[in-house]
């Protein structure tokens, strides 16, 4: 059978692994979108820009920050960035929510979408102006250099780390929302915010924090992406379209759905790159069309 496909089983395994790595980026990003849409009803188009900010801040921390503040030796190491950058971006997005997004909740979805889309363009434009269109290269951290051989292919430790940590974070987020007390409050807030507020829960605070956390997830993915991809101002907008397709396929607002579809679409896309590479950029959208025709609410979505 493998002869028929023109690929050895080992090569196929490693290609599947590569697909899984991309899938974990899709999963992390679409998870953030799903959380925000599920609880806030906001289609957060700034997500790609925040992912870019995650990568950009990581690079700035390593190479630029020191000379800016007059301490040229200062370098923010990778692991520290992995903790700090999502926090910074989370706080930034809370400011966005408090000052802008909050005013739009009583209006149609479309207004939130337009606001976040506009913000994304502004952020992207500023960073392109400041740091150029070609972007910059962030080295793979020394502790993750090297890798292992699977058949004739080389899988870097860093990519394995990305898959591991992304899966862990996805599971943790799902567990938090679906299985803990606080998570149940979040879900109750989406069902009936007024009733929840009457019970003494500070619903606006929950909403703000959720938005911040969802955006921090995007920044986290950005930090993970920095050593793999060139850090450019447009890296987010290139990915976000695919991620939106993933969210639509998984079902808007479904958390488990976005994780599972993110990973499996990464794998499917990876396989297209082997068997029919020319179609790899459209494969996800073809699947989206098919899913929307057969199941308009998405694979895991509930019809509202």
């Amino acid at each position: 059978m493998f002869e028929l496909l023109g690929i050895s089983p080992q090569a196929l395994t490693s290609q599947l692994l590569i697909g899984l790595i991309n899938g974990s980026f899709y999963a992390l990003l679409s998870l953030g979108l799903a959380v925000i849409f599920g609880l806030l009803n906001v289609i957060n188009f700034t997500h790609g820009a925040l992912y870019m900010l995650g990568a950009m801040f990581t690079w700035i921390g390593l190479t630029q920050l020191g000379s800016w503040i007059g301490m040229p030796e200062l370098e923010v190491p990778y692991l520290l960035a992995l903790v700090l950058v999502p926090l910074i971006v989370g706080v930034m997005s809370i400011v966005i929510e408090k000052t802008m997004l909050k005013r739009l909740y009583h209006l149609d979805h479309l207004y939130g979408l337009l606001l976040t889309f506009g913000l994304a363009l502004v952020i992207e434009g500023l960073f392109r102006h400041w740091f150029g269109a070609l972007g910059n290269s962030y080295p793979v951290p020394d502790m993750f250099r090297g890798g292992m051989r699977v058949a004739e292919l080389f899988i870097p430790w860093y990519r394995l780390w990305v898959v591991g940590v992304a899966l862990l974070l996805c599971f943790a987020t799902w567990y938090f929302i679906e299985r803990t007390k606080l998570g149940s409050l979040l879900r109750a807030g989406t069902e009936n915010p007024r009733l929840l507020q009457a019970l003494g829960v500070n619903v606006p605070l929950i909403i703000t924090l959720t938005y911040g956390a969802g955006c921090a997830l995007a920044a986290f993915a950005g930090v993970l992406a920095a050593p793999i991809y060139q850090v450019t101002a447009t890296m987010g907008s290139e990915l976000i379209i695919v991620v939106f397709a993933v969210v639509v396929i998984g079902g808007m607002g479904s958390i488990a759905g976005s994780i599972i579809t993110g990973l499996s679409l990464g794998v499917i896309e990876g396989l297209t790159k082997v068997f029919y590479p020319q179609a790899s950029s459209v494969s996800i959208f073809v699947i989206m069309i098919i899913v929307l025709l057969l199941k308009p609410a998405g694979l895991f979505g509930k019809v509202r």
């Binding site: 269109a133 290269s137 060139q230 790159k273 020319q278």
Partner: protein, 407 residues
């Protein structure tokens, strides 16, 4: 009534004589339109640096040609063909531009060239690479100034094969430019006794190259050649380093790369890599002098080959205008094609098909230790003689050469 008729006739006579004296120049000035990607993916290759280069050329020329003012306008194509076409039209029709400079991606260059051809205006293509610009799609008003895919393929591929690396695998951008480059490079590889083991085509603007690079890796080819450009090349080189291909027995060879790309990637992951350019800032004293002046006005970034090309093209266009005493495209173009160029930066001739034939340079990227500063990124490994980097006119499909105008 009679008097006024007489007055009108006298007036008309004056106007005609005045017209005859200045008929050589449309709207009493020479207008240069820098049409380039100011903010998109190729803005670092050409972009604002090209506008500066054109301005420097005009300043060095003295700001005026035969007493007529030289005016520069610019527009941003974002490397999009539709924008490039419409802006070329606006520049020529509304701003009365006499010559277009720039055009950094093939599709936008072809769009602008077509507009310029219809209106009989000269277009200097400095940034775009495809051979068809002066081959299948040539026209009498285009000069392809800095380099083309033929030169890239011959410069890089023949050097690498001569270095003993015979088996090749291509990672190719899936559009006209990528396939042209792959085709040209493959024929060089085959002609020099090498062998192409396979290729994979990826869509333009791909983010993740791991899958393609893995296919290239498992092909066992000694050379993984990248027939792509811009962000795609940067992404593939970066991930090739990450996937451990750099420093293995396989070599990554980018067929189209600019010094600005190397700056963006850093030397750690690109050291030892070969690529071909039409000009390098640190090659000669004249180049260094120009670059030094450029850098003081451009955030200390050395000019790319394309930006130097814009300077040289602007300079030589103005010289041609001065010599022919007109901004009439046909006369200026005839002069340009008849007069060899040697301005210190570029030396060669503009052929009948519009290709500016000059030496090309095979560069080798320095190691981080060898490099003295961010601009000091490569050494010139070999100078490729002009004839070697140009499609022989005997093989040309350009109607200006064959004499068969396409219907």
């Amino acid at each position: 009534m009679k008097k006024s008729l007489l007055a009108q006739m006298i007036g008309a006579a004056f106007m005609m004589s005045a017209g005859a004296a200045s008929a050589q120049f449309t709207d009493d000035s020479v207008r240069i339109g820098v049409l380039t990607d100011m903010s998109g993916i190729y803005s670092a290759v050409e972009g604002p640096g090209a506008l500066l280069a054109a301005q420097m050329a005009v300043e060095d020329f003295g700001g005026k040609v035969l007493g007529k003012e030289i005016i520069i306008t610019s527009a941003d194509t974002q490397s999009k063909a539709d924008l490039s076409g419409s802006q070329a039209r606006e520049m020529i029709d509304r701003d009365k531009v006499d010559v277009l400079m720039g055009n950094v991606s093939t599709s936008s260059a072809l769009a602008a060239m077509e507009v310029a051809d219809q209106r009989k205006k000269i277009a200097f293509v400095t940034g775009a690479a495809s051979l068809p610009i002066t081959n299948e799609r040539c026209n009498p008003y285009t000069v392809h100034y800095v380099y083309d895919t033929y030169a890239l393929a011959h410069g890089t591929a023949s050097a690498v094969v001569a270095g003993g690396k015979k088996s090749w695998f291509f990672v190719t951008a899936d559009y006209a430019f990528g396939h042209t480059l792959q085709r040209d490079a493959s024929s060089v590889v085959n002609a020099n006794g090498g062998k192409v083991l396979g290729s994979v085509a990826h869509p333009i603007k791909t983010t993740d190259f791991a899958s393609y690079l893995a296919q290239a890796q498992s092909s066992g080819a000694e050379v993984i050649a990248l027939a792509n450009a811009g962000g795609d090349t940067i992404g593939s080189v970066k991930q090739a380093a990450e996937l451990g291909i750099m420093g293995s027995k396989q070599t990554v060879v980018p067929l189209l790369m600019f010094t600005s790309d190397i700056r963006a990637l850093g030397l750690r992951e690109t050291q030892g890599m070969n690529f071909t350019v039409g000009w390098y800032w640190d090659f000669s004293d004249a180049n260094r002098d120009f670059s030094k002046r450029f850098m003081t006005r451009f955030k200390n970034v050395a000019p790319t080959s394309v930006q130097a090309g814009v300077y040289s093209a602007t300079m030589n266009y103005l010289k041609a205008v001065q010599a022919t005493k007109t901004d009439d495209s046909d006369k200026v173009m005839a002069y340009l094609k008849a007069t060899p160029i040697d301005d210190g930066l570029f030396k060669g001739v503009i052929r009948a098909d519009g290709k500016f034939e000059h030496d090309m340079y095979l560069l080798q990227v320095k190691s981080p230790k060898e490099s003295k500063n961010r601009n000091d990124i490569a050494t010139v490994a070999r100078v490729l003689p002009a004839a070697e980097g140009s499609l022989p006119l005997a093989d040309s499909k350009c109607y200006l050469v064959t004499g068969k105008k396409p219907s």
